[in-house]
Amino acid sequence: MQFRCNKSAVLTLCFMLFCGLAWSQEALEVSVNRNPVQTGEQIQLTFTLKNITRKIDAPKINGLKFLGGPSTSNSTSWVNGSRSSESSYTYSYQVTSKSDITVPGYELKGSQGILKSASFIIRVQERNQQQQRGNKGDLGTVACIIETSSRNVHVGEPIVVNFKIFNRANNLDVRKFNIPETPGFWKETVETPDPRWEPQIIAGKRYNVANVRTMVLFPQQTGTLTIEGFDLVGYMRTSFFDGQNVTASADPVKISVSPLPEPIPSNYLGSFGQLRVNAQQSERACKTNEAITLDLTFTGEGNLKFIQEPELAWPGEFEIFDPEVIDRIKVTEKGESGTRTFRYVVIPRAPGNYILPMPTGKWFNWRKEAYSDLTSPALKLEVTRNESDGGGQVNYNSKTDVQVLNQDIQYIHTEWTGPCLPKSRTNNRSRDAAGILAFGPMLLGASLWLRRRRERDQLDPKGARKRKARAAVRKGLQEAKQLVNDPSAFYPALGAALENYLLAKLEWNASQLQREALVGALQAHVPDLHARWSELLQALDMARYAPGQVEVPTSMLATSEALINETEKAWNA
């Protein structure tokens, strides 16, 4: 079968298609999802391109802060052979300006020339000028609402805050929401199950409402505190293929916080809806050195975590350990309540009947807007002596760190102990060192000299005897010379010196000293002098026993010295 094509028909169809395409008009439009707006609100600018494909970058606009994007969507349609396409780029901005914002016209080069969007103005309203939507009269399609249990409170009085999303559409996809920070508040978050949509009729309209967060806030400062910044970013599907981004911001909520009534008590405990304290002891009676426990339980409504360890005046005989803090506190949609227990371990160290200390103070009752007293009945403890301690009482002294109150220098030294030397003696380092250095070699030198002398004496016994005799007579004559004025002592000393000299010369012992033998030995060694020696020794004998018959000591000393010198010469020869 042969396909036969009518050329003219084909050309006609192509012409019609071309004309259809050519007739599709290119356009650029810029739109905003909300106008007027409030400062701080999020808005979305959408750039719609018709029959043209271009990428649009986020423009900088004065008064708007770029947050994110783009979110894009494309669609193409054929109508009666005419093709039309549409692309949109959506950017999120936050309004930062307090005055109107001008969105300028944007230009884009298309195939048919320059495309230009129309300029327009975004009206910015003050927040208080806008209709408060707290009455939920007109929430729009999607709305964020901050619900508070109260807007006028005292410091420390809790506020329950719910962050809710209202939605009339069934197909809202909540992609992101911001729970604001709450400066000036102590925040406790209520643990709730995952939020879910619940139907609610408001002003005759059906809304889906989700409570995304519940918090209990305790204002910590006075003045007007603002909760703001609860924003939502979602996507609402308009058809199976299409949808649009939606945003919503909650109106800020101002909380007026009043100060506590004056005068504030010095023993102020905190601000509560209700507060009482119960004391419970593990034993009413115990023995010394046995531990008991005392539970002080604070029960009430409010931020019980603010209750600090009470200052208790314990008896000095008690040893107290740091208390264990046991919290059983619930945070619910109604607020915060529960108990805080301080569990003390107490060891009494001495017997006696004691009254256990109880906490006292005043707390502010926000319901009555007045201060209330915290009271509790006193507990007694009877402590008896523990006989198992060996019958003796354990002395217990609680110890604390010594606090340094003042500092001063150490006192003067009153004892005179150290040396008090002239300053001239303190700069003798070189002399001292030289003395130490010289002493060692001198010691060695002396030792060597003595050793050498001893060796020389061993090699020359005759010379050694001679030196020994000379030393002996020199010493003896010196002693005798000192006694020359005392004849009774002089002559014995001189006699002893001469005898020692002759004993050394002859190498005799004292027992060998006899006059006849001595004379004989002298005759043998010094034949010319032995007569004079005999005469001198005899004169000395006479002098010892008959002092008046001999010459004077000085002449006898001179005679002795001369005779010794001559004997030395003759003996050597």
């Binding site: 150490q410 300053k423 001239s424 380092r429 060192a433 060692g440 060695l444 002396a446």
Partner: protein, 250 residues
């Protein structure tokens, strides 16, 4: 010999007599201090220290100046006392308290490892220690050699020879340390600023540029002397020239 003994006895008698005399002045100054008459106490202690060195008098004089709130003089005398007795805890405590009163806060240079260790070894306070060890090693070493001369047994001679070598080595090492310490003492004299405020200039004289100001009680090291102008170095390494009348050597 007898004459020498007589001279020594006379000298010792003079010393004993003068010590007793100074001790009376010392006790009188102590009583004045206890009575709160610090000016009289200062006069007493200074009369002792005029031409003598005495630890207790230096320390007590520092205390008296401290009580008079004369921080510079107090630190000066505490430092002198510390040189006489470096390990005395009272001096160290009072010196810390006195230094806490002065105006200048000077951070010391960071430690530089081996050089820092060497500085500690040859610190001025170590001189006496090195001298004692040197005397011990040197004299005992030569004593061992002297003994070895008379020793006849080979084993004993060997022991004495080895001991002598070890002791003499110890003596030589400590001799070098003592010499280095002595050089350190000679080269780095410390001084205390004794005026309330004084400029430190970049050159000797009064025409130089003022680099920084020092205040009473600050300790400096004297590096060089040119007449009445001394070059000083601070603990943080800064140097400059100062008038010698504004500081007192320790």
């Amino acid at each position: 010999m007898r004459q020498l003994f007589t001279v020594l006895l006379f000298g010792w008698s003079c010393l004993i007599w003068s010590q007793d005399d100074f001790e009376i002045i010392f006790q009188t100054a102590n009583e004045a201090y206890s009575a709160g008459d610090y000016a009289e106490a200062i006069a007493g202690y200074e009369s002792i220290l005029e031409d003598r060195m005495h630890f207790e008098s230096e320390y007590n004089l520092g205390n008296a100046y401290y009580k008079m709130r004369d921080w510079g003089s107090a630190i000066l005398h505490y430092e002198r006392a510390a040189q006489l007795s470096p390990s005395n805890p009272d001096v160290r405590t009072n010196l810390i308290l006195a230094n806490a009163q002065i105006k200048d806060r000077i951070e010391s240079l960071p430690s530089n490892g081996i050089l820092d260790i060497w500085d500690r070894i040859v610190a001025p306070g170590r001189f006496k220690l090195w001298m004692i060890i040197m005397a011990f090693g040197w004299i005992l070493g030569f004593g061992a050699l002297a003994w070895r001369v008379w020793e006849t047994r080979l084993e004993n001679r060997r022991i004495l020879g080895t001991s002598a070598a070890a002791l003499l080595s110890l003596g030589l090492i400590t001799m070098l340390l003592a010499w280095s310490t002595s050089q350190r003492i000679e080269s780095s004299k410390s001084a205390i600023i004794t005026v309330s405020e004084t400029p430190i200039r970049n050159e000797p004289g009064t025409n130089g540029m003022t680099l920084f100001m020092l205040h009473e009680g600050t300790k400096v090291t004297v590096m060089e002397r040119q007449g009445e102008h001394w070059e000083v170095q601070l603990a943080n390494g800064n140097t400059g020239w100062i008038s010698s009348s504004d500081l007192t050597e320790i």
